[in-house]
Symmetry: C2
C-alpha cells in the first residue's frame, strides 16, 4: 500500500510565512499616488488596511511569525492534503509524477481564507470593528465572512450586482457566516450613488464595488478594507500552502521539476511558488514555474509592464504590474477569479527576472481538462483551477514524449461545487472561447 | 500547539470492514417475499444486486477484507479527518469534548461513496456493465456516478422528477461524472409508463424511481441495481468510517461516552457505531448511542416494528424494520435524506436490544444548531447532518449541567454546499416544522 494522499500532522503546521522580498537585489517599485505619482508611505496605506498587514507588505524578514491565534484558527482545515494524481498519470500513460495541493478543503472551498484569517486577526487586534471588501463571484467575500466569525469582526461585502442576482448560493454562504451583503453599486455610499446616477440599471463592476468598500474604510476609524490578492502581504500569507507542499514533497521523497498555478491577481500561484524561490534563486535549482491564464485575460502573457491602478474606479494607489489596462473589461468567462487586469508586483518582478513562464488557454480546453480530471481523480474543480490542471496535463504529456520522469506539482485552488452551471454550459456545448490580443 | 484535527496516514487505512451480525445471539429476520411471505434465498437477491454484496449481506465473519482495488480507490479521499470542535465547546462553555468525523471530505461531499465504491467494484468483477439506482436530492446518485468512473461501470440514475427540475446542480455533478440521468417516472420502463398513464404530470416519488431502476436490473444480465442505505452490506461498508474514528479517538487518547448520527435509512449512523458495538455488547462499555431523526419522519422514535416493503411500489422484498408504513409520505423537509419510512434491520435489532436511543427534532431547531456550528467550527453542514449537530449540542449542554467531562462523537455525514437554498429559507424565516405522530 502506497500513500496517494500525503497528510501532515497539525504539529507540523508551518510556524511562519515565507517572504520573498529579501531575495530581490532591488526593492520592488513602491505603490504610488495616482495624481502626484509620489510613493505612498506605509502610514498612509495603514489608513485603509490593517497596520500589521502593511508592515508585512514592506518587511525585509524572510520568515514572518504566524501569530498563535491565527495558527489555532488555521487548524480548522490546515494542513491541507497533497494528493498524487495516480489515476490521471495512468490515464495519460506518462512517466511523470503529478501532485496537487488540495486547497478545496477549506470551509469556503478555496485558498482564500489563508490570507483572510490573518487580515481579520490583525484588524481585530487593532480595534477594527468592521472589515469591508468587494466580491465578484463570491469566493473572496465568503472567505472573509468565515474569518469574521472566527475573530468577531463584522464583514461587509459589496457584491457586484449582476453576481448578486445570478449567484445566489455564494450569497447564502456569506449570510450563513453572518456576513452583510450589499449589492453594488448601492445608495449607501457616495461613490455608489454617483454610479447609480450615471446609470440606475448598471450591472455593477468589481471596480465600483472596490470604490464603495474603500470609501467606508476611509470614512471611519473602526472600519478597514481588506483585499484578497495582488498585494505582497496577501501572497506572503498564502505561502503557508507552498510551505506545506514543500514539507509534503519531502515526505514523499521527491523534488518538483514543474510548479503550476492559475493566475488572476496571483495569490494562489504566489502561495505555491514563493517558498521554492530560495532553491531557485539562491540554490540555482532548475524548476519550471508556470503561471496559467485565460486567453480572455492574458495579463502576464500579453500585458505591458507599467504603473496602473488596482481598480477601474482610479481611487486606489497605482502599482507596478503587468496590466491590460485598468479599464479593460475581460469577456465573461466562467473563471471569474482570473478576470483581473493586473498582476501582483511580486510576480511582475519574477517574470522580469526570468523565473516565471506565462501561458494562456481558452476556456473550452480547460473544461475538457477538468472533465478528464474529474473522471480519474474524482474532484470537480473550480473553473479557475481547471487552468492549472490543463497545464499539468500538457506538461505530463510533454514528459511522456520526452520520456522524462518529471515531478509536476500544481495548486488545486478551489472546488467547483458553486460552479455547476459552468459545467452545464460546457456539457451542452454553449461555451465560447475568447482570445484577447493586447 | 495541540491537534484540533486528527489525521490518519493512508498506511493506517482499515484493511477490513466490521460486520456486527456475529454479535447477535439470534440471526436477523431474513428478507421475505411480499406475496408468499417466504424468506428470499440469497441467490434470488443476487439477481438484482451484485453477488458479492449479497454474500456480505449474510456473512457471519466479523471482519470482511476490503479488496486491494477498493482500498486504492478509498485513498482518493480516505481516511477522513476527525476534528475536535474546540470552538463550539468554548462557545457552549461545556466540560465535554466534542469530536466530529468529517465525511464531507469525499468528492461528492458525503459518506455515500463508502458503499458505492465496493458495490461498483463487485459489479465490475462480476461482468456487470451498468448499475441502476434511484436518487432523490441527488446525494446517492452522485456518489454512485463518481464510483462508476473509478471502475468503468455505466451508472443510470432515475432521479425523482421534481428533484430533477428543482435541484439542477446535483444533476450537473452526476453528469460531470458521466452518469446518465433519467427523470422518473420515465417512458423508458414498463413501470414508468404505467405511472405516467395514471398521472402524466406526476412529480414522481422515490418509490416510483426504485421500481424503474429494479426493473432494468431484472431484465438484463449485465445490469444490476445498487442501494445506498438500509441493507446490511451497506452499513458494513460504511463501518470504515467508524473504524477510522475508533483509531483516531485512540490517537487522541479518549474513549467515547456518546455516539451520535442522523438516521434516514441508517447508513451513516450505522457506519459510525458498528465498530463500537464489540465494546458495548461484549465489553460491557457504557456508551450512549443516539439516533437522530426529524420529527416529520420519526421512524425509530414512533414507528412500529414489523415486516414492510423497502419501497412504496411494493416490488422489493419486505424487511423487518421500524416503519411508518411504506406508503407514508413525509413532509417536504430540507433534510431529504432523512425522509425514509423504514430503518435498517441492523438498527432495528439494536433498538430491540436496548443499545440505541432514538430522538427526533423539528427542522428549525436543527438549522439553528447548524448556524451555531457554522459560526464556530466554520463548516456549513447538510441539513441531515444538522440533526446530529443539534443532538451533540444538547448532550454537551447536559454535560455542562451535570458537570461531567463527557466525550461526545458525531458523524458529520455531509457538507451543505448543495443545500444553500435551504439556508435561505431558514434565514428568511420560511421554515415550517412538522410533527408526525405515528
Amino acid at each position: 500500500m502506497t500513500n496517494k494522499m500525503i497528510n501532515l500532522d497539525q504539529t507540523e503546521l508551518p510556524k511562519s510565512w515565507f517572504n520573498p522580498l529579501p531575495l530581490f537585489d532591488e526593492p520592488l517599485p513602491p505603490p504610488i499616488d495616482g495624481i502626484s505619482k509620489d510613493p505612498i508611505p506605509p502610514e498612509d496605506l495603514a489608513k485603509i488596511f490593517p497596520k500589521r498587514s502593511i508592515e508585512v507588505e514592506v518587511s525585509q524578514e524572510r520568515r514572518i511569525d504566524i501569530p498563535e491565534e491565527v495558527s489555532e484558527a488555521y487548524k480548522i482545515w490546515r494542513p491541507t492534503p497533497l494528493i498524487r494524481a495516480t489515476n490521471l498519470e495512468r490515464e495519460l500513460d506518462t512517466p511523470a509524477k503529478i501532485y496537487f495541493k488540495y486547497e478545496g478543503a477549506s470551509p469556503p472551498g478555496s485558498h482564500k481564507p489563508n490570507t483572510a484569517l490573518p487580515q481579520t486577526y490583525y484588524a481585530k487586534q487593532e480595534g477594527t470593528k468592521t472589515l469591508t471588501t468587494e466580491t465578484g463571484a463570491g469566493q473572496w467575500g465568503s472567505a472573509l465572512s468565515f474569518t469574521g466569525t472566527q475573530f468577531d469582526v463584522n464583514v461587509k461585502v459589496f457584491m457586484v450586482r449582476v453576481s448578486y442576482d445570478q449567484k445566489p448560493y455564494r450569497k447564502s454562504m456569506i449570510q450563513s457566516w453572518d456576513g452583510e451583503i450589499v449589492p453594488s453599486p448601492s445608495d449607501t455610499t457616495k461613490a455608489g450613488r454617483t454610479f447609480l446616477e450615471q446609470d440606475p440599471d448598471t450591472d455593477g463592476t468589481l471596480g465600483m464595488a472596490i470604490s464603495e468598500a474603500v470609501e467606508l474604510a476611509l470614512e471611519s476609524d473602526d472600519t478597514k478594507y481588506s483585499l484578497g490578492s495582488v498585494l505582497n502581504h496577501v501572497l506572503i500569507h498564502q505561502s503557508i500552502l507552498g510551505l506545506e507542499t514543500k514539507d509534503q514533497l519531502e515526505k514523499a521523497g521527491v523534488k518538483p521539476d514543474v510548479l503550476i498555478g492559475c493566475v488572476g491577481g496571483g495569490s494562489n500561484f504566489g502561495g505555491l511558488i514563493l517558498p521554492f524561490l530560495e532553491d531557485v534563486i539562491e540554490g540555482g535549482e532548475d524548476i519550471d514555474v508556470i503561471a496559467v491564464e485565460p486567453t480572455a485575460c492574458p495579463t502576464l502573457s500579453k500585458g505591458d509592464e507599467r504603473y496602473d491602478y488596482a481598480d477601474s474606479g482610479e481611487i486606489t494607489p497605482m502599482l507596478n504590474m503587468y496590466t491590460l489596462g485598468h479599464n479593460f473589461v475581460p469577456a465573461g468567462i466562467h473563471a471569474g477569479g482570473l478576470r483581473y487586469h493586473g498582476t501582483a508586483p511580486i510576480l511582475t518582478r519574477l517574470k522580469d527576472l526570468g523565473y516565471l513562464k506565462a501561458r494562456a488557454y481558452p476556456q473550452t480546453d480547460t473544461f475538457e481538462a477538468a472533465m478528464q480530471f474529474a473522471n480519474t481523480e474524482a474532484y470537480i474543480p473550480a473553473p479557475e483551477t481547471s487552468h492549472a490542471i490543463k497545464a499539468a496535463i500538457d506538461e505530463a504529456l510533454k514528459a511522456k514524449e520526452e520520456n522524462e520522469e518529471k515531478t509536476i506539482v500544481f495548486n488545486y485552488s478551489g472546488h467547483g461545487n458553486f460552479d455547476m452551471s459552468a459545467y452545464d454550459a460546457y456539457l451542452s456545448g454553449e461555451l465560447e472561447d475568447v482570445y484577447h490580443e493586447a
